[in-house]
């Protein structure tokens, strides 16, 4: 087995990228998938900006996007663009959160709603609604607080000289169900107008979201970017079994805490903005992984998939029963699940998670 020293060792399916003196491996298939996803996403975004109560030709949309004067400035730039931006960011945030939590839990069924983030957010928010706090100036902060609090509780209870993946997931799901029960209790105690409003919030909706919601979300996500970049590398060490990782000198406890924390913050902020649009976090990472066929869940492709699912779902939610607008959460699963099912049916990876 002689390898050309200058070529380096290239595992199958990887390309060696040189940048100056640095070298890194690029998974070819993942790169192709990411590129294709980005193209499709761009197309869907233009379509999103074109379609609505009044149709705008694509050329005009591009004009607005590139800051040229256009008669459609109001419809495209002021009404549709900010809402779409929120959709993109929320989708990407949920997907990355789901990917990280699935990695730590080593379980494809794990997601932020498995470890209580969504339920904590819902319990606090719906509780507040039941007691007459319905202002959207307050509710997002409550749901972020609820999500982080719930996850912190789960982490504290699951920690015992380390974070065992199964223990973490089980205790998380126990808390999640308990918190959901409390939410249901609030729902049956309130009158049905509150129940209806709560139901829409719990389904997840982008109605009436604009720059006011997009800006803080974008800043938080930007601030989280270093953590996510770190996570792409850290993911690999956690996916090994505990003994191997420890033998290789990985500080499992810290790495897991970092990954969970990143995922929880992303999911909480996204929940605060749009409500718990749950299935994005569950479906997007698995869709991305089955497309790239990588060993770990690919974060960039997950983010793109999540963004695509949410924007596409919102486009359908706006137009399907127009003038009635459905909450986006009704359709995220309807958009994402069939594709995942198709990937499973057509799948070439039988036994892999």
């Amino acid at each position: 087995m002689t390898t050309d020293a200058t070529a380096g060792v290239r595992p199958a399916g990887y390309a060696l990228v040189r940048a100056g003196r640095g070298r890194f491996l690029l998974h070819r298939r993942a790169a192709v998938v990411a590129g294709s996803l980005a193209l499709v996403l761009a197309g869907v975004c233009v379509a999103y900006l074109c379609v609505g109560e009044s149709s705008v030709p694509p050329a005009e949309v591009l004009k607005v996007l590139f800051g040229q004067p256009s008669a459609n400035e109001l419809v495209v730039g002021t009404l549709r663009l900010p809402r779409m931006t929120v959709g993109l960011l929320v989708g990407a945030a949920f997907a990355v959160a789901g990917a990280l939590i699935q990695t730590v839990a080593r379980n494809p069924l794990a997601s932020p709603d498995i470890i209580g983030v969504s339920q904590g957010a819902s319990a606090l928010t719906v509780g507040a609604m039941t007691f007459g706090i319905t202002s959207y100036a307050v509710l997002p902060y409550l749901s972020v607080a609820g999500g982080v609090l719930a996850a912190a509780l789960v982490y504290a209870f699951a920690w015992r000289g380390g974070l065992h993946a199964t223990r973490f997931v089980l205790i998380g799901i126990g808390f999640a169900i308990a918190l959901r029960s409390i939410t249901h209790l609030f729902l049956t105690k309130g009158d049905y107008l509150v129940a209806q409003q709560a139901q829409i919030w719990m389904t997840g909706s982008l109605n009436g979201r604009g720059w006011d919601e997009a800006a803080p979300l974008a800043w938080v996500l930007l601030a989280m970017l270093p953590a996510v970049l770190w996570a792409t590398r850290a993911q690999r060490s956690v996916s090994l079994d505990d003994d191997t990782a420890t033998a290789l000198g990985v500080r499992l406890g810290r790495v897991r805490l970092g990954l969970v924390l990143t995922g929880v913050v992303l999911a909480s902020v996204a929940t605060g903005t749009a409500g718990p649009v749950d299935f994005v976090a569950l479906l997007a990472p698995q869709i991305a992984r089955r497309m790239t066929r990588t060993a770990q869940i690919p974060l960039l492709c997950s983010a793109l998939t999540g963004a695509l699912v949410v924007v596409l779902a919102d486009l359908l939610a706006k137009r399907l029963l127009s003038p009635t607008e459905l909450p986006v959460g009704v359709l995220t699963a309807a958009v994402g699940a069939p594709y995942l099912i198709w990937l499973i049916v057509k799948g070439r990876t039988g036994g892999k998670a």
């Binding site: 997931v169 205790i171 249901h184 049956t188 389904t203 459905l326 009704v330 099912i341 499973i344 039988g350």
Partner: protein, 341 residues
């Protein structure tokens, strides 16, 4: 060698028998509580007297017409969901598998939502068949997805297929509920899960299914043990893996359908009870299944009883109390020992 291993083995059997006896005692106690406690509390001696000799006092009427059916439903639903959860965790080899996450409960919910919204059905005994049909269709869909493609119905494909179908069905439920306010108003009370207000008719509708489910599940106990060692080992041990999955899956579906139809979506029992049972008697399914069938009703009946007295004069539905009471037990047991994943 054999002499050396026989002693711990005997200790294990003794422990299992001891715990099973304790669980039976706990079950009898919770049944008695469920018959005695409520807005009008009856003395246990009086309850037993009513059960044995009848009578027509007010207390006797309350016990006979309201608490006996309620207790029976609690017993049946608790056992059904616990058994279903145990089997599903065994089939998918996933510790967080339960009827909820695999879409079976969601299928039942879709059936009920559609019945309320479009078929004009507004009675519990009317819901039952729709819940059943929904659960059955969901299970068939999950298995069809998982079994297609390469490698057949592997645990991972079953779990992911279940999650995908669950998501799809949830969006159907949400679509109806967000567009039909009246349906939401009715559905939110069913969704919470409760064993109250069911009459003897529901018991009569449910028990044949429960019996069939128990028989199916019991027949695959050894197969689940083999499956826990991995598919190849299971095949090597002479188990037909596909048969174990299909028979176990049908059993779990029938049980879930019966449980959800009778009491709505009670989430926690199917997930937590199998883990609690395994923590007590080990991983042998011939012990875990009976243990789960004992603990499930205890958890549900105790939750129901606590729900009756915790916020008088109203009641907290059993579906809500179950998780609130069960979580401490789950946390304590899961923290106590390494969980067999």
């Amino acid at each position: 060698m054999r002499a050396a291993t026989s002693h711990p083995r005997r200790a294990l059997v003794t422990r299992r028998i001891g715990w099973t006896a304790a669980a039976v005692a706990a079950l009898l106690l919770s049944v008695l509580l469920s018959l005695a406690v409520g807005a009008r509390t009856t003395a246990p001696s009086e309850v037993i007297d009513v059960l044995l000799h009848g009578g027509h006092s007010d207390a006797a009427e309350v016990v006979r017409t309201m608490r006996v059916p309620r207790t029976l439903i609690g017993l049946m639903v608790g056992a059904a969901l616990a058994l279903a959860g145990t089997v599903l965790q065994g089939i998918t080899r996933n510790p967080i598998a339960d009827p909820g996450i695999l879409g079976i409960s969601q299928g039942a919910s879709v059936g009920v939502v559609l019945a309320i919204a479009f078929a004009g059905i507004h009675s519990l005994s009317g819901y039952v068949w729709f819940a059943f049909a929904g659960a059955a269709l969901a299970s068939v869909a999950v298995y069809a997805v998982a079994a297609s493609g390469r490698g057949g119905a592997t645990p991972v494909k079953l779990a992911l297929g279940g999650a995908a179908i669950n998501a799809l069905l949830a969006s159907v439920t949400m679509a109806v509920l967000t567009t039909q306010a009246a349906a939401l108003d009715e559905f939110r009370f069913w969704q919470v899960g409760s064993v109250a207000g069911r009459d003897a008719e529901v018991v009569g509708q449910i028990w044949p299914f429960l019996l069939a489910g128990v028989v199916l599940v019991a027949s695959v106990a050894r197969g689940l043990d083999a499956l826990a060692l991995g598919e190849d080992v299971a095949k090597g041990l002479g188990q037909n893996v596909a048969t174990v999955r299909i028979v176990g899956g049908i059993g779990a579906t029938v049980l879930t359908g019966a449980g959800v139809a009778a009491a709505g979506t009670i989430a926690f029992v199917g997930l937590a009870v199998p883990h609690i049972a395994r923590a007590i008697v080990g991983s042998d399914h011939r012990w875990v299944l009976p243990m789960a069938a004992l603990i499930g009703p205890v958890m549900l009946l105790v939750s129901d009883v606590v729900g009756r007295i915790v916020f008088p004069p109203g009641e907290v539905p059993a579906g809500v109390m179950t998780a609130l009471i069960g979580v401490p037990f789950l946390v304590a047991l899961v923290r106590r020992k390494a969980v067999p994943a």
